[in-house]
């Protein structure tokens, strides 16, 4: 028998099974990882909910089988199937892949292969499903351009309906497949790579993109929803344990902090919030339908949610005594955060997480996450004194202009925090340091920066391993070779598609799994194609370089990113943009939408009219342009 057969059965509480034959359009939603991880993905749950609300559409789930099941399926010639009705994926009209991170790329190829569907978009015909993909990794879609027919750039809640409508019209018209792709390319937020050709300079750097279809948009602007739709409450309750086995409720989307390393913080702008009432009602609804004992309140920065104090109060009033664990991740390093967590007290006081990301004030200024060290230590003391025994500290190494002294400072800071704990708790106090390696991401102010070399990373990790041992200290780190893979794939151009294909042919899959990660497969793929991996990772890019992802517009202007990058080199920080609009590009692009959705739900200033406003908090489009 295979391990955990419960991954492959479907049939869980709250799954939605529709009449296959009586439903016009059938969509398979694939999270190309094992069930245990995929079932924890909120994006998948949102699209499942959205699509199944339509009477003319059904959405079913599929995940990658773990190797034991894959071997059994291949041996028995069983194609990859959906969990709800066990239909082979090839029988669906549309297959949507969720790609929140790059290490899912080979799994996507493997899933298509297991489904018996040609991997390359160009090889697929009208008889094959339409293959679409979305998620944060598709803000640089180029490495996967050869395999995906159409990418969704940005938020999917509305555009997924337009895609289904477009598909249905095309099916009724019986037109050839290119007409479907053409119609899709005209939807806001959809990128059809086949309609563009990439050109490179003799030195290998990216030059420009030319259109193969006059009507294709250039750039392709990301999709946003003006207002967050009502949260999903009818979550599927797995029969087996999954990574996050809980109710996830997004309280806020976007972030105004502007940490320069943070991809999510840049691509999910603008900030949009849900009301306390909406969140609390959603929790009640979800608990009644699932019985989950844990709720995760999700956002990129909980402390910045305007009503966080009210929310915490409302939740503790409404749910006290129900043995409910509430997690409120991503809190700022300040004592107020400890008050918030205290109010959500759940009995369990296992670990309190803080993410200073860097250990010196100077480095925190470079990355624009300014926190003073005394403030961090004050917060730590407060955490220990309220009964938490463990503080988890998240750092990154490999920040731009980092020296070995900055790494030494990580060890010193961890010990300083532990010393605070010992004052309160004695030897019971613990510090767990999670030290990952910085990867410069597209669309961020650090997109020009070179990634640290494997040798450097190893030297820095060795220092930390030597220093962070002994009672009360624990260290986690990433394999530097896995970091390289993440860097190649996130910063890649179209030429990477062949590398991904070759690596998959060489056996690469489940790249995010230590036991499966196959560096050799990737290295050989680069070699076979005559590409130098270091070109993608270890090259400080000139300030005027054109990036292969620039045709994908997050609406944050390159000028803004350039300026912010130069500011970081000068040690200048930017304040929370709720205090001052820096005209990153969001508001000028979406001024019309903002005008139609006034009020506090957006983090950006209001846009009331094109004429002079009279309220001080009203910023005019003209003013925004001036600031730029």
């Amino acid at each position: 028998m295979v391990q955990k057969p419960g991954r492959y059965t479907g049939g869980e509480l709250n799954q939605i099974v529709k009449n296959w034959d009586a439903t016009e359009t059938r969509v398979a939603l694939v999270f190309p990882e094992i069930y245990d991880l995929g079932m924890s993905n909120l994006g998948l749950a949102i699209l499942y909910d959205q699509l199944n609300q339509r009477h003319d559409t059904l959405a079913e789930r599929a995940f990658c089988p773990w190797s034991d099941m894959e071997n059994a399926m291949r041996a028995a010639a069983i194609p990859l199937y959906s969990l709800e009705t066990k239909h082979p994926l090839a029988d669906f009209d549309i297959i949507g892949f969720s790609l929140p991170y790059e290490t899912l790329f080979t799994n996507t190829l493997n899933a298509l292969d297991l489904a018996g569907i040609p991997l390359f978009s160009a090889e697929r015909t009208t008889q094959h499903p339409l293959i679409i993909a979305g998620g944060h990794a598709t803000f640089n879609p180029e490495p996967m351009h050869a395999f995906i027919d159409a990418f969704v750039i940005g938020e999917g809640e509305e555009v997924i309906h337009e895609i289904v409508d477009t598909y249905q019209e095309w099916r009724r018209s019986a037109a050839p497949r290119p007409e479907l792709l053409e119609a899709l390319a005209n939807l806001w937020g959809v990128y059809v790579p086949a309609f563009y050709e990439a050109h490179y300079h003799p030195d290998g750097t990216f030059s420009h993109l030319t259109k193969q279809l006059e009507a294709a948009p250039l750039p392709v602007t990301k999709r946003i929803v003006p207002q967050l739709p009502p949260p999903v409450t009818r979550f599927i309750v797995p029969y087996i344990n999954t990574v996050h086995n809980r109710v996830p409720i997004e309280i806020m989307r976007g972030c105004t902090r502007g940490c320069r390393f943070c991809h999510a913080g840049m691509v999910t702008r603008p900030v949009r919030e849900r009301s306390v009432e909406e969140v609390v009602t959603a929790i009640e609804g979800a608990l009644a339908q699932t019985g989950f004992e844990e709720v995760g309140l999700l956002s990129l920065s909980s402390s910045d949610y305007t009503h966080v104090v009210d929310l915490v109060r409302a939740i503790s009033e409404r749910f006290t005594g129900q043995h409910l664990t509430i997690s409120l991740p991503s809190l700022r390093i300040e004592t107020v955060s400890v008050d918030l967590m205290d109010a959500l007290k759940d009995g369990r006081r296992a670990g309190f997480t803080l993410a200073p990301e860097a250990a010196t004030e100077k480095m925190r200024e470079i990355i624009n996450k300014p926190v003073s060290t005394p403030q961090l230590l004050d917060t730590a003391r407060e955490i220990y004194s309220r009964g938490w025994t463990t503080i988890k500290l998240y750092f990154m190494i490999g920040h731009p202009s980092e020296t070995i002294n900055d790494v030494q400072a990580i060890a010193d800071l961890c010990k300083a925090v532990l010393a605070e704990g010992r004052k309160v708790l004695g030897n019971r106090a613990k510090v767990h340091a999670g030290v990952s390696t910085f990867v410069p991401k597209p669309h961020t102010p650090f997109q020009w920066v070179s990634c640290d070399t494997v040798e450097n990373i190893r030297a820095k990790q060795d220092l930390l391993k030597r220093q962070l041992r002994g009672k009360g200290l624990k260290l986690n780190w990433n394999n530097p070779e896995e970091t390289m893979l993440e860097a190649w794939l996130s910063r890649g151009d179209r030429r990477l598609a062949q590398v991904i294909y070759q690596a998959w042919m060489n056996g690469a899959k489940f790249d995010a799994w230590h036991e499966h990660f196959n560096f050799q497969a990737w290295w050989e793929a680069f070699t076979a194609l005559g590409l130098d991996p270091a070109f993608y990772t270890h090259r400080q890019r000139p300030i005027d370089e054109t990036f292969p992802w620039e045709h994908i517009s997050t609406t944050i202007r390159k000028k803004f990113l350039t300026e912010d990058y130069l500011w970081s080199q000068a040690g200048d920080t930017r304040v929370d943009c709720r205090n001052q609009c820096f005209a990153c590009g969001i508001l000028p692009t979406f001024a019309e939408i903002r005008r139609e959705h006034p009020g506090k739900a957006w983090g950006c200033p209001e846009v009331k009219s094109r004429r002079k406003g009279d309220k001080s908090n009203t910023i005019l489009i003209e003013q925004v342009a001036v600031l730029d």
Binding site: E12, Y239, I240, N241, E293
Partner: protein
């Protein structure tokens, strides 16, 4: 504490639920009670756990028509109310056959179990089945190894006999195996001792025997 009641539920574990492990089944029941809005009692202490005790772990993949659990509620309420609240929120694969109140002071449920009965439907006919049964039952010892430990299977077999074939002509066996702490017979082991692959058998636990 004083108002707590203790209930005993006999239920099925079928369909996809048969791949739910002991630990996950425990969680499934906790969630069922939470959905039903019933006042589940929790243990005291640092890490409160719901007071639900499953009688006897079932090997993954085997369906059951006779699982038993004990559960404590914070306050007394009519059995019929509990039952109807649960019925409306049961997950697929679970049916409640019986619900009764039992004494708070009764011994822990797992210690009350003495044996388990299984029905095995053999999908690929075994011509000399009667002969194999006779040979196995005539043995005084059946020394076997499981997970690197030797043990004697024979004393754990309380009963092993044929049931009438199914309408489709499948052979069937009935087994009653010891299910005491430290002396639990596994039906796949019995099948293996008979030279029958458990992959070609559909196994169902039909009953748990209490003292």
């Amino acid at each position: 504490m004083t108002n707590q009641i203790r209930l005993r539920i006999t239920f099925s574990k079928t369909e996809a639920m048969r791949y739910t492990s002991h630990l996950d089944l425990h969680r499934t029941w906790e969630r069922t009670f939470r959905r039903a809005g019933l006042p589940l009692a929790y243990s005291q202490g640092y890490n409160p756990r719901p007071k639900i005790i499953l009688a006897c772990a079932l090997p993954l993949g085997i369906t059951s028509l006779g699982e038993i659990l004990d559960v404590w509620l914070e306050k007394g309420m009519p059995i019929s109310e509990v039952l109807s609240a649960l019925q409306s929120t049961l997950p697929p694969g679970v049916t409640i056959y019986h619900l009764e109140q039992v004494g708070l002071q009764e011994a822990a449920l797992p210690t009350q179990i003495t044996a388990a009965e299984y029905a095995a439907e053999i999908l690929e006919s075994v011509i000399d089945l009667d002969n194999r049964l006779a040979i196995l039952l005539s043995e005084d010892h059946l020394n076997r190894e499981r997970r690197g430990r030797g043990y004697d299977l024979r004393p754990l077999i309380e009963n092993l006999s044929r049931l009438p074939d199914t309408a489709a002509g499948c052979q069937r066996l009935s087994m009653r195996l010891s299910a005491r702490e430290g002396a639990t017979g596994r039906p796949e082991e019995v099948l293996d001792a008979l030279g029958i692959s458990s992959h070609s058998v559909s196994l169902t636990r039909t009953k748990l025997i209490l003292k």
